[in-house]
């Protein structure tokens, strides 16, 4: 529990929720990142602009955060290149097959009480916890 950061986590969570709420009320769409990115592969006519704009906002976020005078948090990625490739392929394929990720199913889907999203979130949380258990505690990676 030594790394527990309840305040910043809650504030960040409220911001993510506010973004999803804003996007739904203004644009009428779900702020699901895998769906927004996946809709560009291949690009779908008439739906390229807003997708790119949303992604541009995400890319600019770290720069805006630094410009506000705050120090960026750490980003510690401890994985070999082959593991990154395998994980990336699985995440890309899996989120499209399952029609959502942490944002679309977890934040937006649960927020609107969708049974599909609640089940999907339980499933991906369970397999993620199991994967960490196997890699850290059984394989010692």
């Amino acid at each position: 529990m030594e790394n527990f950061t309840p305040v910043s986590s809650l504030i960040g969570g409220l911001m993510i929720g506010a973004s999803a709420a804003l996007f739904l009320v203004l644009n009428g769409r779900i702020a699901g990142i895998s769906g927004i990115l996946g809709g560009l592969i291949p690009p779908e006519r008439g739906h390229v602009g807003w997708r790119l704009a949303f992604l541009a906002g995400m890319f600019i976020a770290p720069l805006a955060y630094v410009a506000s005078g705050a120090a960026l948090p750490a980003s510690e990625l401890d994985a070999s290149l082959p593991l990154l490739v395998v994980a990336g392929l699985i995440v890309g394929f899996g989120t499209r097959l399952g029609a959502g990720c942490t944002s679309g199913h977890g934040v937006c889907g649960i927020g609107r009480g969708s049974p599909r999203s609640i089940v999907a979130t339980l499933v991906f949380m369970a397999t993620a916890v199991a994967t960490v258990f196997v890699t850290r505690h059984l394989l010692g990676m």
Binding site: N3, L10, S19, A56, A79, V91
Partner: protein, 152 residues
């Protein structure tokens, strides 16, 4: 144009939320998923806070009926569970647990995290492209009933 600006603002706020909550730190995410080790419950608060506000947004959007800037709400209506949903979610969880990156933090990490994130994002995009090759009815799960065997 207003639709583009509001999408940009939403993406910016989303990215800032991921930074403030430290979701952009794969080590922090793995600490949350490691419930059998030194568990860090922080991300449960990220999820809780995010779900609370997004559900308020949903209530407002439903009440209005029409979005402020778009002609109609584009909300998924399916409620049934199917093999694609389950298999996709299960796969996604495995990939997430392997390195601690899900799509949002991976994209924000492109302009801020370690350069290895580019490898992950490139592979993720290839994974999404591969999905386009998958037939619409895959995977199919047929519940086969064992033929009744009469011993004799």
């Amino acid at each position: 144009m207003p639709l583009i600006l509001s999408a940009f603002a939403s993406g910016l706020l989303f990215g800032l939320g991921l930074i403030v909550s430290q979701m952009v730190n794969p080590a922090k995410v793995l600490g949350f998923l490691d419930i059998f080790g030194h568990w860090d419950p922080s991300l449960a608060l990220v999820m809780g806070g995010a779900v609370a506000v997004s559900s308020l947004g949903y209530l407002v959007a439903k009440r209005r009926g029409v979005p402020v800037l778009a002609p109609r709400l584009e909300i998924p209506t399916r409620r049934d569970l199917d093999p694609r949903l389950i298999a996709g979610a299960a796969l996604f969880g495995i990939g997430w647990g392997l390195v601690g990156l899900c799509p949002g933090p991976a994209l924000v990490g492109l302009t801020f995290g370690p350069t290895e994130i580019f490898v992950f994002v490139a592979a993720m995009i290839i994974g999404m492209a591969v999905f386009r090759l998958v037939p619409a009815d895959w995977p199919q799960v047929t519940f086969r009933r064992e033929a009744t065997r009469v011993d004799g």
